[in-house]
């Protein structure tokens, strides 16, 4: 039998139909839905009378719009409220499980945080969601693809997706990372290296010693940002850590079913001798904590580095883009990254809002105070993360240091709810996008890891976390 990549194995086991000159009809095992990209799709299946084919394989959450302050208060924004009410009505009408603000509210959270947390995300599956960061679920060895609203409608109606077969891109990260270099720094380094369109048309398989060494949550951070390199998905082969993470979770197989499942899942890895369409190798041992300086996630540099001079860029279009980015960001070339002062710090988003992220940040913050003039907030990725953190007293550490401690949701990752930057505000953010206006019109976003964000909150400017004691007991 020919050697196959992990991607090929998943793809081939989900082909419903292949016809000449048409994209493959692929079966979808799990469809995750949120309030922003689904209303028009539900309306489509309602008007056409098609309905939802597999409500049992469809799960919904409210995350993008939800307020992160006191949940007992009514929602101020009537349009946000309407979007959330519409999701609830759609879920009721079609019998879809919803994790909302009142229904199953203890399980509500960012769609890409709760899928794994609830044991819905498993190896060898196909997963889609009307959200580009669906790639997060690839951390479990699942093929997880972000789709548009028309495709959401297609999946609701058929439980299938039409896709042209992507190419497979091996990103190999060898070596051992040094202390203070996190999964976020690895993925930012990768994007900085291959560029924000470097993986367009491909599915990335992350491999190598540095990837294998990561925890499941760290692998999610890596896969989450695959889309930021233009990839359709990112995957990591499952291993014992993966199986252990899944075991015992709410929707995971139980007992003998679980053991059988693990037997099957072990096969989801790239065979020896399988070939990739493209390969890049990076070395984790030479990576430093990363800080983005521009207006896309490829515009990053080491914390010890400087804001680049656009005139040194070789290509004219990149020069123009860098100049416009620096003008938007209010930065001058050759400024030391560590001298950049901050107004806001945001720890949250589907990239970095899980318990390990919050714990690591809390270790930095413990016993210290947020710098004067800095407003800092922590938004846990899900209510489960929030309650676990509270059980461990992490909320107190943050609150005592002067951080705001919020309810879960997307929050200031995209600022659809009231959590936004004011024009000109400079923010160290653990989210995934530093696009113009992403966190609020005129807001300036610097992407960093949770420990870098925490340290920046304390000092009021960026600091190299490698110089800090980051392993204190909590």
């Amino acid at each position: 039998m020919a050697a196959k990549t992990l991607f090929n194995k998943i793809w081939e086991s989900h082909v419903v139909l292949e016809e000449p000159d048409k994209p493959t009809l692929l079966y979808i095992d799990l469809h995750l839905v949120h309030e922003v990209t689904s209303p028009q799709a539900f309306e489509g299946v309602r008007l056409s009378g098609r309905g939802v084919r597999r409500p049992d394989l469809t799960f919904a959450t409210k995350d993008h719009n939800v307020p992160t302050h006191d949940r007992s208060l009514p929602i101020d924004d009537p349009i946000s409220k309407k979007q959330m009410d519409t999701l609830r009505e759609n879920c009721n009408e079609y019998g879809i499980t919803l994790f909302g603000l009142t229904t199953n509210s203890d399980l509500q959270g960012i769609v890409h945080v709760i899928g794994p947390e609830l044991g819905l995300t498993k190896p060898g599956m196909t997963i889609v969601c009307g959200d580009s960061h669906t790639s997060t679920h690839g951390a479990f060895g699942a093929l997880a693809i972000g789709i548009g609203t028309s495709e959401v409608e297609h999946v609701l109606a058929t439980q299938c997706l039409r896709q042209n077969r992507p190419k497979v891109f091996e990103v190999k990260v060898k070596g051992k990372r040094t202390q203070g270099v996190t999964a976020k720094d690895i993925i930012l380094s990768i994007i900085g290296h291959i560029g924000i369109a470097g993986a367009t048309g491909t599915v990335i398989e992350y491999r190598g010693e540095a990837i294998e060494a990561l925890s499941m949550e760290e692998r999610m951070t890596i896969c989450n940002m695959s889309i930021e390199a233009g990839a359709r998905a990112g995957i990591i082969a499952p291993d014992e850590k993966t199986f252990k993470y899944i075991e015992g979770r709410r929707y995971a197989p139980k007992g003998k079913d679980f053991d059988d499942a693990v037997e099957s899942w072990r096969g989801f890895k790239t065979d020896e001798g399988a070939t990739f369409d493209k390969t890049v190798t990076l070395d984790a041992s030479s990576m430093a904590p990363q800080v983005s300086w521009g207006t896309n996630p490829g515009m990053v540099t080491d914390v010890t580095g400087y804001v680049p001079d656009p005139d040194t860029f070789s290509d004219l279009n990149s020069q123009k883009a860098a100049k416009s980015a620096l003008s938007y960001m209010g930065l001058t070339p050759n400024t030391a990254i560590r001298e950049i002062k901050l107004d806001r710090v945001f720890i949250g988003s589907c990239t970095n809002s899980r318990i390990e992220d919050l714990t690591a940040a809390a270790k930095i913050v413990k016993g210290k105070k947020v710098a004067q003039d800095v407003r800092a907030m922590v938004v846990p990725g899900s209510q489960m993360v929030k309650s676990e953190a509270e059980k461990e007293g992490i909320d107190k550490i943050f609150k005592e240091a002067g951080f705001e401690w919020r309810e879960s949701g997307c929050s200031m990752c995209l600022g659809m709810n009231p959590d936004i930057l004011a024009p000109g505000d400079r923010c160290a953010s653990t989210s995934n996008r530093n696009f113009e206006g992403r966190q609020g019109k005129g807001g300036r976003t610097h992407l960093v890891s949770p420990i870098m964000a925490a340290a920046a909150a304390i000092e009021g400017h960026f600091v190299d976390v490698r110089e800090l004691d980051i392993n204190k007991e909590i």
């Binding site: 419903v16 048409k22 095992d29 922003v36 979007q83 299938c160 048309g201 359709r232 499942a261 206006g437």
Partner: protein, 204 residues
């Protein structure tokens, strides 16, 4: 969906690489539950000043580009968020064709579902078109999807490649869900097998 066969009209330039969907339609406009009402918010932060008046510097606000239905832009157009609100806004504004050296995957797919033809041309051809657009007021092109050609009044003509399935759907204004549902038997058969072979994939 309205069929798209031949598009003739003015070309508007957007001379930037990596235009992301957050710029095409900012998040504050994503709260609608309809597919309409997005055109006026297209490129909002670039198109309008803080007080809501039009920014005269922005290309689309210049008189000779008003009413353009072909958008000419640079590499990696439509990157970032999967929001289909981006093609909805572009289409409602009036763009039926977008020409660029490359597109982001999800955005590219979304175009075909919304009667927008995304055309990928070589970088040097795009450079050439930018020069023509800047030097000729009201520069216009005719795009013929059936024959996969673009031509200009002065005789210039070029062929473009397009995915045959996407082409068919655009030409006929087809709903690809109807097409997939013709294969319901295959889907059913797949599901029957799945319960036997991949029980673990189902939620417990």
């Amino acid at each position: 969906m309205e069929p798209l066969q031949i598009v003739s009209g003015t070309v508007a330039p957007l001379d930037k690489i990596n235009v992301d969907t957050d710029q095409i339609i900012p998040k504050q406009f994503l709260k609608r539950v309809e597919r309409t009402g997005f055109g006026k918010s297209l490129f909002y932060d670039w198109r309008y000043n803080d007080d809501g008046t039009e920014n005269p510097e922005f290309e689309l606000n210049k008189d000779h580009y008003r009413g353009a239905n072909i958008l000419l832009t640079r590499d990696n157009f439509g990157s970032g968020s999967s929001r289909e609100h981006a093609p909805w806004a572009l289409r409602e504004y009036g763009f039926k064709v977008i020409i660029a050296p490359s597109f982001a995957d999800i955005f590219y797919n979304n175009c075909f579902k919304n009667a927008i033809l995304p055309i990928t041309l070589h970088r040097s051809t795009v450079d050439e078109l930018f020069l023509k657009v800047y030097s000729t007021k009201g520069y216009s092109l005719t795009v013929d999807l059936e024959s996969q050609t673009i031509h200009a009044d002065h005789g210039w003509e070029i062929h473009f490649d397009i995915d045959p399935f996407g082409k068919r759907n655009l030409l006929e204004g087809l709903d690809d869900i109807a097409h997939s549902l013709e294969h319901e038997d295959e889907i059913k058969r797949y599901e029957e097998n799945m319960v036997l072979e991949r029980k673990w994939a189902l939620p417990n």
